[in-house]
């Protein structure tokens, strides 16, 4: 049965996550072996312990958690819109976040203001989209998608305007924010906590999500409170995205590619797909971030560029495979 296969996959992903964590902690200018890594995390003050404990560990945790958040949000959005090509940003959440965060950067406000503003902007965009899409009473995935796309386009225009107006000294920070960057690593435990909590609250609804993915009215006929479930998915997915965007900026393709890849491997049962997406998303973003800071060291590449570089060919290949 695919169920055992799926459990094997979950365990494999967990093991992979540990491996990638070890790599992320060890790799960099200051090399760390297994013992010094362990000592560093346990609070020792050997050579490089501070680097591992205070720089790499929070950064790794942030990258992993945000990858998980994005993949989980992507999987939920795909169910909500009944469209395998939906991603966490499709409803304008990242556009709203970017607009607000860049406004802060443009005004020269320092941390934590851009992060807080990003969260507020994401939340505002989300309320705007859901409010507008519900406006006329009828609610369809197409209507929601169109509203999201239009709001996202509006935000994108605002972002371009701000970039055009920005003085040179603010520009670099703004661009890095837009491309996604885990180096700041603010509040790593918050992202991890939200990821864990998000997974825990959506798992009890996983079978209902399976039905929802097959159509709203058929799900309703099978006893699912679809109106409540729809609001719940929308809110949860938007919150997960907002937390991630405010921590690492808009990192593309994780939320799109990870659920899609997993669906090919284990099918579309949300009871397995959601935890698998959280793990695999984390692994992908953590690996990409570690690559981003080591591959051209001492230069740090924005992690969003790397996920896109991995994601674009992977996705095109998947799409081509599917068409056959």
């Amino acid at each position: 049965m695919p169920r055992t296969r799926a459990l094997v996959l979950l365990c494999t992903l967990a093991a992979l996550a540990l491996l990638v964590f070890a790599w992320a902690l060890a790799a960099g200018e200051v090399q760390a072996d297994a013992t010094s890594m362990w000592q560093a995390l346990a609070g020792g003050d050997a050579m490089g312990a501070a680097v591992v404990r205070e720089l790499r560990w929070p950064r790794a945790l942030t990258a992993f958690s945000c990858g998980g958040l994005l993949a989980l949000a992507g999987a939920l959005m795909q169910v909500l819109l009944r469209n395998p090509l939906a991603d966490p940003y499709v409803l304008g959440v990242s556009g709203g976040a970017a607009l607000a965060a860049l406004a802060c950067l443009l005004l020269g406000l320092s941390a934590p203001w851009p992060d807080l503003a990003a969260f507020g902007g994401a939340f505002a965009a989300m309320c705007l989209v859901f409010g507008l899409a519900r406006g006329a009473g009828s609610w369809t995935p197409t209507r929601l998608l169109l509203t999201g796309v239009v709001v996202a386009a509006g935000c994108s225009a605002g972002v371009s305007l701000m970039l055009a107006l920005a003085p040179d000294r603010a520009l670099r920070g703004m661009l890095f924010w837009l491309m996604g960057d885990a180096s700041g690593a603010p509040r790593p435990y918050l992202a991890l906590g939200v990821l864990t909590l998000g997974l825990l609250v959506c798992l009890p609804f996983a079978r209902e999500l399976n039905l929802f993915a097959r159509g709203e009215r058929p799900a309703q006929a099978l006893g699912v409170n679809t109106a409540r479930l729809r609001r719940f998915i929308f809110l949860l997915a938007s919150l997960l995205t907002a937390v991630s965007v405010s921590a690492v900026g808009s990192v593309g393709f994780v939320g799109l590619v990870v659920p899609h890849l997993l669906r090919l491997a284990i099918g579309n049962d949300q009871r397995l797909l959601l935890p698998a997406a959280a793990l695999a998303g984390g692994v992908l973003l953590l690996a990409a971030d570690t690559l981003a800071r080591t591959v051209a060291s001492p230069l740090q590449l924005p992690v969003g560029v790397l996920t896109a570089l991995i994601g674009v060919p992977l996705f095109l290949w998947l799409l081509g495979r599917q068409a056959r």
Binding site: R82, R207, E208, N210, R214, G215, A221, G223, R263
Partner: protein, 262 residues
């Protein structure tokens, strides 16, 4: 239980400018096989969805097993009545068995997984729709008729007492149409009530013991097949003049100008 499975009292169903039924009185008893007939866009699907509790009533009251519909918890209701969508849709790939297992949802607790008993039920439902061996097939690669039979199997796996089926014969070949009708006739004889929207008049008459005719603009007629199977009545509901051709055993209805004798 001798009371009706489903009872509509003075029910008005509207959608946009369309009045599907005004002041409809209708009861579905165990053993009933009801065919809903009417022209395109007259509101058959909306009426069926309303009877299933999925479309708000403009007026009137619905009772299921004597209890007002609104007082039913959704999952308990789903164990009692099933509704088949006219448009099965699969945006995601998945096995036929998983699609059929969705019918077991109302019978499972929040954290339950489908066990061997559920799987067996789903396999039996697939076999009843002549889809044995299709369990692991991806629903997105099935033909329209096969996909429709998977949807019907999911409804069977739901094991309700009342079946509300919106065009269950869509895309089916003749043999499948006859098999599906025979299966639901068997379920009705075992105590279920079945309502179907059907466009094939003669298949409908061969299967149903009662007819619900929607004439448009909210007008309706409900009665036994014998009472309503007259060319004028059916012709009015379907918006085309009909004539009956009988061979002593069966009567079929054919459109006036399409008949060779006309």
């Amino acid at each position: 239980m001798s009371g009706p499975l489903l009872e509509a009292q003075a029910v008005c169903v509207r959608v946009g400018p369309v009045r599907a039924a005004e002041a409809l009185d209708f009861a579905l008893h165990p053993g009933d096989r009801v065919a809903v007939l009417g022209r395109n866009g007259v509101g058959k699907s909306t009426l069926l969805a309303a009877l299933a509790g999925l479309h708000p009533l403009a007026a009137g009251a619905l009772r299921v097993l004597g209890r007002p519909l609104a007082s039913w918890p959704a999952r308990e209701l789903a164990r009692t009545r099933a509704w088949l969508s006219q448009h099965p849709d699969d945006p995601f790939a998945g096995s036929a068995l998983d699609a059929v297992l969705t019918g077991r949802h109302p019978w499972l607790g929040r954290f339950d997984w489908e066990g061997l008993a559920e799987q067996q039920l789903a396999r039996d439902a697939l076999a009843a729709m002549a889809l044995a061996g299709f369990e692991t097939r991806n629903v997105q690669t099935l033909s329209g008729g096969e996909r429709q039979r998977v949807a019907l199997a999911a409804v069977l796996a739901q094991t309700p007492r009342a079946y509300l089926l919106d065009e269950p014969l869509t895309h089916l070949d003749l043999a499948s149409q006859v098999r599906v009708l025979a299966h639901f006739r068997g379920l009705a004889e075992a105590g279920a009530g079945v309502v179907m929207v059907i466009h094939d008049l003669n298949l409908a008459l061969s299967w149903a013991n009662r007819l619900l005719l929607l004439h448009g603009d909210g007008q309706w007629e409900c009665g036994s097949r014998e009472a309503l199977a007259r060319p004028e009545t059916l012709g009015r509901a379907l918006g085309f003049p009909l004539r009956a051709v009988a061979d002593g055993e069966d009567a079929i209805f054919v459109p006036m100008h399409a008949s060779p004798a006309a």
